[in-house]
């Protein structure tokens, strides 16, 4: 309610993000405010329009348990408290087929000519609070949801016991409108499954939601028989265990075991469940008037547009990935973007509110400063070399490079504030036209040379990304894990920075083995920059093979900050490979790579002299 009245909140309901671009401190937003056909400022919710509307359709808010009209209030406490006309439910208004609502509206606020509105504004920070969805159990055929009317979901139960629900709180079951006396709750529906249906993670809220509902039902009717079938009861939060004990004391039975199947008695429409009680080890059958599936939480499927435009990534479970799982749980990896609520992971109300407060505070740090200093590890376009080919524009995970036209030779432009410094652009540029500050080509080449100028046969060059692999190596050290002496680490911010030419340079200067290591795909700190690493290494493997160089001398490993053990295992494997590389093999490699480089140089010189000739004497060049 307060949010609708607050002078500093511009509340845009029935609205969608049409476009969002920009970077920390400076985002451009376009919102489409969809047409309501009712003037928001004028409507006083008198309900006269609703009374005359002849169209009756299922009410989404009540999950179809009751009906509404084509012009309706979403629910009594809706904010804003304004009617809305659903265009597809309406008999039609072009030409007007019915128009009764408009006739009866005293304030003349129904306008069939109303159009979508496009609103544009700029902001310094974005809070993504798009929430979650509830798992759809229809695919779990064994419980017969949608086949058996008396199998309902936890969300449907919420409506059936709510005083604001379709039955005004009189608890009934769907088939015969009688008050059920025996109720089962099946837990973990769509959660903690490994069979491909549902999700492997714990949705965290369903245990407590069932406990809460069991108590509400006991309040309605103390004699009601409630059995809860569960794997584990996770009552981990403040006040949770107390509620769980109260539920048990009220007589709710908790049976450890998830029913395999539900059967409907065709006459009584009662539901039987067979279950193995895993505490007593006995196989049991129970009959119920109503079965409630305690649904898990899933990521929203309609937020992909926002995710992509803000360059956000997903964790394996499909929820959006935070900047750091422990130390920056509210910040998105993209600067100026913060998470609140279930968009980041399943949460109960208290956790959502806590994170919302944290997101507001985190955003205020940025907004209050009024300016932000950007780390100097950013890329710079060397316009003299840039051909405007646009490869960098394509590979940048942060949309920090724009423009560039190959035909008109217009160089690209860098948006320094959006650049995060992964260096993928510099690695992918074919014309050495991008300078990656603090991780310049010359600096990295100098490191390679320093490794290889003495006893190159004894050393392995390891490129490690700052966030994962380098940290994995640090963890190996911290854990005092021992491994061979041969490895020499060259740190880059991201494996995306590792240019093909670094790797070829290393081999041409006698490196027996080169490892490129980075974060696992979902963990890349630069969204998906390491996908380009993979592509680059794939190409190099082909090239090495063509030149008669064993491709396995170039290795690629994804090692996380937590994988000190994997780091050590990799180092041991690399050492075994290293000792097998002979002096002859290295000499052959050097020879092949040198020849290949000479060929490429000759080719580019010839091309250049031809271009010069075309410029100077076009006729002669064609001849």
């Amino acid at each position: 309610m307060d949010v609708g009245r607050h002078p500093r909140v511009n509340l845009l309901t029935f609205s969608e993000i049409e476009d969002i671009s920009g970077y920390i401190g400076n985002f451009q937003v376009t919102v489409r405010k969809k047409v309501r056909f009712v003037d928001e400022a004028e409507c006083n919710a008198c309900a006269e329009c609703e009374k005359v509307c002849p169209m009756v359709v299922p009410d989404e808010f009540q999950l179809g348990f009751s009906s509404r009209k084509a012009i309706y209030m979403p629910f009594p406490q809706a904010v804003p408290s304004v009617y809305i006309l659903n265009e597809s439910d309406c008999l039609g208004h072009n030409p007007i087929a019915c128009g009764k609502c408009a006739d009866v509206c005293e304030k003349d606020c129904i306008d069939f000519d109303m159009k979508d509105e496009i609103i544009e504004f700029e902001v310094g920070a974005v809070i993504v609070a798009t929430g979650m969805e509830v798992y759809d159990p229809t695919e779990l055929d064994e419980y017969g949801y949608t086949r058996y009317e008396n199998v309902i979901t936890s969300m449907e139960l919420e409506r059936l016991i709510s005083a604001g629900g379709p039955t005004e709180g009189h608890f009934i079951r769907p088939t015969d409108q009688n008050t059920p006396k025996r109720i089962a709750f099946i837990q973990c529906v769509g959660s903690r499954t490994l069979n491909g249906k549902g999700n492997p993670y714990c949705s965290t809220i369903c245990c407590m939601n069932t406990i809460k509902n069991s108590l509400l039902l006991k309040d309605h009717n103390p004699d009601i028989d409630i059995k809860v079938f569960y794997m584990d009861i996770r009552a981990y939060g403040k006040g949770f265990e107390d509620l769980y004990q109260r539920s048990k004391q009220a007589g709710v039975q908790y049976i450890r075991g998830i029913p395999g199947e539900a059967y409907e008695n065709p006459t009584t429409k009662n539901i039987s469940l067979t279950v193995e009680d895993t505490i007593t080890g006995s196989l049991e059958e129970h009959e119920f008037d109503l079965v409630v599936l305690a649904l898990g939480v899933i990521p929203r499927h309609d937020t992909e547009f926002i995710r992509k435009n803000l360059s956000l990534s997903k964790t394996e479970d499909g929820f959006l990935m935070e900047s750091h799982p422990k130390l920056r749980p509210v910040d998105a990896p993209t600067g100026g973007v913060f998470f609140a609520g279930c968009v980041e992971s399943p949460k109960d109300i208290k956790e959502s509110v806590t994170q919302a407060g944290a997101a507001a505070a985190r955003a205020q740090i940025l907004l209050n400063a009024g300016k932000i200093s950007v780390e100097a590890i950013t890329s710079e376009c060397l316009t003299d070399f840039c051909t405007g080919c646009g490869v960098c524009v394509k590979v940048c995970p942060f949309n920090a490079i724009t423009g560039g036209d190959a035909k008109l030779k217009i160089p690209v432009e860098m948006i320094e504030a959006a650049c995060k410094g992964c260096g993928t652009c510099a690695a992918e540029c074919n014309f050495d036209a991008i300078l990656m500050r603090h991780f310049e080509d010359a600096q990295i080449i100098a490191q390679i040379d320093a490794v290889l100028d003495e006893n190159p046969m004894e050393k392995i060059i390891v490129f490690a990304c700052n966030w994962c692999s380098y940290a994995g190596a640090d963890l190996a050290g911290l854990s005092r894990l021992q491994y061979p002496l041969s490895q020499r680490v060259i740190r880059t911010m991201c494996s995306g920075r590792v240019d093909s030419k670094f790797i070829l340079h290393a081999f041409e200067n006698g490196a027996p083995i080169v490892l490129v290591s980075g974060c696992h795909f979902a963990d890349c700190h630069y969204i998906d920059a390491n996908r380009w690493t993979q592509k680059r290494v794939d190409k190099l493997w082909d090239k090495l093979e063509k030149l008669g160089i064993r491709p396995e001398r170039l290795q690629l490993e994804w090692i996380s900050a937590a994988e000190g053990q994997k780091w050590v295992k990799t180092m041991n494997e690399l050492e075994e490979m290293r000792i097998q590389v002979t002096q002859e093999e290295i000499e052959h490699t050097i020879k092949m790579l040198k020849e290949d480089r000479d060929r490429a140089e000759r080719k580019s010189k010839a091309k250049k002299s031809l271009t010069d000739l075309i410029k100077k004497e076009p006729v002669k060049a064609i001849a």
Binding site: H6, F14, P74, V128, T130, G341, Q447
Partner: protein, 198 residues
């Protein structure tokens, strides 16, 4: 002496016995002193400590150093410490680099004194080679607009919007549905306090 204007100082940290217990820090320091453009090489008990940092500052001033290598732990631990340290005596923070001879050397080769010492020398050499080419960098500042966008009008979006608006910022709250409230508005009572959702 150098003829390209580079004046590098190398500070080898013993880290108590964390580094000095597994390799010869004196040998690493002596070796560092022989590397190109290195004008002084110093060994400290704990380089990150107050006396260690004072030593770096003292040498920068006395020897007019313009590049610094700290051979100690991982830069993930103390890069910011040493960047700040050198900038306090006027050196650009990006002209300091670290050679990780602890996590990547002394701790992982505990029982190979000579091998670990040679590897540590090599790590210092590689870092010095990079440091010679480091460039001063300036961090740029960009302005931040004061308005905020909140996407989603569920309980989380509402709470964030109210907090930010109460703090004095203009909030644009965008909700897809016709009313705010989200999933919570559909719930009857809520745990653990059993009060109403709306």
């Amino acid at each position: 002496m150098t003829n390209n204007g580079l004046r590098i100082g190398v500070f080898v940290c013993e880290c108590g016995s964390n580094i000095a217990g597994s390799l010869d820090c004196d040998a690493v320091r002596d070796y560092a002193a022989t590397l190109p453009d290195v004008v002084c090489a110093v060994k400290n008990r704990y380089t990150c400590s107050e006396p260690g940092q004072k030593e770096i500052k003292k040498y920068i001033k006395e020897h007019n150093l313009n590049r610094i290598v700290v051979a100690s732990c991982t830069p993930r631990m103390h890069e910011i410490t040493f960047r700040k340290c050198v900038s306090e005596v006027g050196l650009n923070p990006y002209l300091m680099d670290m050679a990780n001879i602890r996590e990547h050397c002394s701790w992982t080769h505990l029982n190979n004194w000579d091998g670990a010492t040679e590897k540590a020398k090599d790590i210092v050499k590689i870092t010095v080679a990079r440091t010679r080419l480091l460039q001063p960098q300036t961090e740029t500042e960009i302005p931040v607009l004061k308005d905020v966008l909140v996407i989603g009008g569920g309980i989380a979006g509402i709470q964030t919007s109210l907090d930010l608006a109460d703090a004095g910022y203009q909030v644009h709250l965008v909700e897809k549905e016709a009313s705010i409230g989200g999933i919570m508005a559909r719930l009857d009572k809520t745990f653990p306090t059993m009060d109403c959702s709306i």
